[in-house]
Symmetry: none
Subunit: 124 residues, 4 copies
DNA sequence: GTGGTCTAGACCACC
DNA sequence: GTGGTCTAGACCACG
């Protein structure tokens, strides 16, 4: 479920943060579902528990998970992250579009991509 | 023309790379135009020449500039970077769209953003 | 009467201590009134009796309740905690005021807050 | 300048965060002033550098300092933290006042404390 | 068993 | 020299 790419320049903990974010955002993990314990995931990935710990604390800070000491870490309600995350991604979209525009990419090609990926146009 | 933000988390050389990339992509600098010498830019920005050197090496690796020993550094022809760069950004676009879709963002909102930014639909 | 927030960073027993303190200070529970037995409260809140036990021990240490073996736990006379608690809060008040002063907060704003909250000016 | 209290229940890194916050808020350290390097402070306090590192990262997250890799850590401009910090302290003030009120503390005593500490009533 | 903190020691990127 | 990351191993509070 989580793969570490040691050739990636980004730190391991950041890769874990991003991966779990994806799993939550894409609905693979549901609110209040327990995520792997620090120790278990550390063993799974053959990584030091401290590194997992750092990733989990960052995820909590971002509002994607919440921690119950002695119990484990759990996925937060959508309300804690949905709005902020969508806003963030819209910002990224804007940046990418500006660059694509400067590169002279055809608007049609972009529109096709949007139609292909965003099949559902139902709001949440 | 180039501004360094020391509070930015990214290394200085990376900021320079990105900035010059922008200048080239947006046409501010034209193919075969000479870019500032390592020494001059270092003095201008009051930073270590090694840092500029590293930035220029990266830009050369990416195909945005080429070096002529004893002459200086020059902007490459569009052909050496346009295609690869556009492909890269299209990849980013795809990732962002997938996430926006998962977040339940309305397709209409994305299309509006595309129409707003990509005013020109002329191909390269 | 007592609500546990598992997402709270503070340990459960501390939440219970604070909550019961509030109930006593605000007069909801009167001196010599019996408080729920360890066992009953544990069942009510669906938590481990050890946790309740720890909370009650802390409350006893602070002078808010006293234990009668074989009978249960009871709210102490005001004399055992009122003075110490007030002193403690006056210390906190001082610290906060110093910081607010350093931050350049207007004295008037603070005075307004005091007038708003401390409606009764009857001494104990 | 910074003292660690090992009897304090709070983690060391949190004590450091609070202490440096105080130094900044109270104007002992000025914007853009360099704070001790991670290694130096670690040696000074006879503490592991990782612990200092954690404290500094938290301070950066809170907007009190900014980091320049390879250079050190520096105090942020007041604008990054003044408003939020003042708001936070006003919240603490409110809580304390409510408790003092419930304890039957005389309003006059509180007003005296305010007058004593907040000598300057000049706004920022 | 769970997360939270800390130490000791190491390597890396950056400047 | 500076901060950033990571490992290995330890102890603690909590439930």
């Amino acid at each position: 479920m989580i793969q570490i790419d040691y050739r990636d320049k980004r730190p391991i903990y950041e890769q874990i943060v991003e991966r779990i974010q994806q799993l939550i955002v894409n609905g693979v993990m549901s609110p209040n579902e327990k995520i792997p314990s620090v120790r278990n995931l550390a063993i799974d990935l053959s990584i030091n528990p401290n590194t997992i710990q750092k990733a989990y604390q960052e995820l909590e800070r971002l509002g994607f998970i919440y921690t119950v000491k002695g119990k484990g870490n759990f996925v937060s309600e959508e309300s804690s992250w949905k709005k902020a995350t969508a806003k963030e991604y819209m910002g990224s979209l804007k940046e990418v579009l500006i660059s694509l525009n400067a590169l002279g990419v055809n608007k049609e090609d972009v529109l096709i991509e949007v139609q292909n990926i965003m099949k559902g146009d139902a709001a949440s």
